[in-house]
């Protein structure tokens, strides 16, 4: 079985994202870029499935600028077998990304497609589900445990009410949540080895995909700030303040 893993290039999660003063976007110049952390967890899980003998090949895919090669090379250094970069210089919205992934799925015929549950830049949490819909295959989102056997994935999902378990027949789409695993660290020899692994590049236009970019963004603003309130001296002061607000 082959596993296709999506890796989105995003602003590193440690960077404190700031809105440009003119409201035209967020500051990206000179900002560290990384693999979307949820996608990194998806790749780790795919690698573990390969190491367990469930899968034979792990292919990483990114849709984005040429510079996303860096993230794919990191994915190869983690252990992916080969990489595909679908080059797009403009913003790619979830429906377009899903259509691109569908065209790759038709070509590659994976048994599983694994993505992060959301990208930490646009926070949409849509691409995986959209791909599953267009592909007409099952989806198991927000996975915190994945067991694959006999053509069936048993997936534990982190839902608001607790942990939900579903079974899906392969091929299927899985999006992963934070607690599924801890991705491995990349070692220097692996980085050297990754340079020799195949990385195919193709322009988005070549795939014959119709763009699904329908959302236009007109203004960016920093979030409203809460104001500092009052300080009280002791528990009685706290009780009095809560009474004032009608909360006790």
């Amino acid at each position: 079985m082959k596993i296709l893993v999506g890796l989105k290039r995003v602003i590193d999660y440690n960077v404190r994202v700031q809105v440009k003063p003119d409201g035209s976007g967020v500051v990206t110049d000179g900002v560290k870029m990384s693999i979307n952390p949820f996608d990194e967890i998806a790749l780790e899980e795919a690698l573990r499935l390969r190491e367990a003998g469930v899968a034979e090949e792990v292919v990483v895919v990114s849709i984005g600028p040429g510079a996303a090669q860096q993230q794919l090379r990191t994915g190869l250094a983690m252990g992916a077998d080969r990489a595909i970069l679908v080059e797009a210089d403009e913003e790619v919205q979830p429906l377009t990304a899903a259509r691109v992934l569908l065209s790759l799925v038709e070509k590659e015929q994976p048994g599983l497609v694994m993505l992060g549950k959301q990208a930490i830049d646009d926070d949409c949490s849509q691409t995986g589900q959209m791909l599953a819909a267009l592909w007409d295959r099952p989806q198991a989102t927000f996975a915190s445990e994945v067991v694959v056997a006999d053509g069936v994935a048993t997936v534990t999902r982190e839902v608001d009410a607790g942990l939900e378990t579903i079974e899906v027949d392969l091929p299927a789409l899985i999006t992963v949540d934070l607690r599924l695993n801890e991705p491995r660290f990349v070692k220097l020899p692996d980085i050297m080895k990754a340079k020799k692994k195949p990385l195919d590049e193709m322009p988005l236009a070549e795939l014959g995909v119709t763009a699904g970019n329908f959302v236009s963004t007109s203004a960016y603003a920093p979030p409203a700030q809460r104001e500092r309130g009052i300080m009280v001296e002791d528990v009685d002061g706290l009780m009095a303040a809560l009474k004032d607000k009608g909360l006790v």
């Binding site: 819909a133 267009l134 982190e158 009410a161 027949d169 007109s218 960016y220 500092r228 009052i230 300080m231």
Partner: protein
């Protein structure tokens, strides 16, 4: 004029409060509002939905074997029902986040996730970068607007009406997807996501045993219990209690942060709370920058005293 279909969320017996909040967002868009209730047994949930103020009618769809929990079962039926609607909304909970993109893709339209304000019938505000930036987004008026609604941004609509209830048939889960089970978390206490009062503890509690004083205070207040990521990572409490950017984003009327310093990632999860109370021994802790009421001191003295006075 807009015609809006809301997909109700429920647990099989009762409507989830997120549905009434989604309704408030729909009312801000304006127009006719219908609610679709997918359930194995529709009657009780449909009656609750029909009582919500501002609903034109409730459409019921029968499922079986917990099919109402599965996006693959619901999405094709919602697409079949979409004719004539200008907007399809669901709460931005794990239920709505799982379901709505599957609907949008089948309709061939974009989705707006986490609507936090309505600027016009097709223009909305939503957060990106974990709430570090807010954007105004517009979708074309000539296609169905699919959106999930950030429940922390809208108050629940009132109840006291009686809309008509109509059957809209049934929906079957495809054979490729099977519901197995749900292990509910939290036990007897109010659900963290929807509780009007929440008490959270941080790393300063020091141990799993010490966290008991948080539970005792929460029980005295009838509150749900949360925790900071530091407390979760230290193993004091399970993952599903984490409040913050990578955990649960909540908006209770009252939030009490105990021994929580107030890392950005935590503050992102509580910034829409009504009143924030912070108790911390470090007067310089960032949590005090956002707290409405702050108390500096030793939580191991303060929390039992507060519990006693509230009991």
């Amino acid at each position: 004029m807009s015609k809006i279909l809301i997909i109700a969320e429920h647990d099989g017996q009762a409507l989830n409060p997120s549905t009434a909040k989604t309704l408030t967002c729909a009312a801000a868009i304006g127009g006719d509002i219908d609610i679709a209730v997918f359930a194995d047994s529709v009657d009780a949930v449909a009656a609750e939905a029909a009582a919500l103020d501002g609903v034109s009618k409730v459409l019921t769809v029968e499922t079986s074997g917990n099919g109402f929990r599965l996006a693959a079962a619901l999405a094709p039926k919602i697409v079949a029902m979409a004719e004539g609607y200008s907007h399809i909304l669901a709460p931005s909970t794990t239920f709505g986040k799982d379901l709505l993109p599957r609907v949008a893709a089948l309709l061939g339209v974009a989705q707006i996730s986490d609507v936090m304000a309505v600027l016009g019938s097709h223009e909305f505000q939503r957060p990106i970068y974990a709430g570090n930036a807010i954007v105004n987004v517009t979708v074309p008026a000539d296609q169905v607007m699919a959106g999930t609604v950030r429940t922390a941004s809208f108050a629940a609509a009132g109840a006291g009406s009686s809309a008509s209830i109509e059957s809209a048939g049934s929906a079957e889960a495809p054979s490729h997807t099977r519901y197995v089970k749900l292990e509910a978390s939290g036990g007897e206490r109010p659900d963290l996501q929807s509780a009007p009062r929440v008490v959270s503890g941080g790393r300063a509690l020091g141990s799993e045993e010490n966290f008991d004083i948080i539970y005792q205070l929460a029980d005295a207040m009838g509150a749900g219990v949360g925790a900071s990521r530091a407390a979760v990572d230290a193993g004091y409490v399970p993952n599903d209690m984490q409040v913050g950017q990578t955990g649960k984003i909540i908006a209770p009327d009252l939030y009490v942060a105990i021994g929580i310093s107030g890392a950005i990632q935590h503050l992102t999860g509580i910034k829409d709370a009504g009143t924030i109370v912070a108790i911390n021994k470090d007067a310089e802790a960032p949590i005090f920058e956002v707290a409405d009421i702050g108390l500096v001191g030793d939580l191991f003295n303060i929390v039992p005293e507060l519990t006693q006075k509230l009991a």
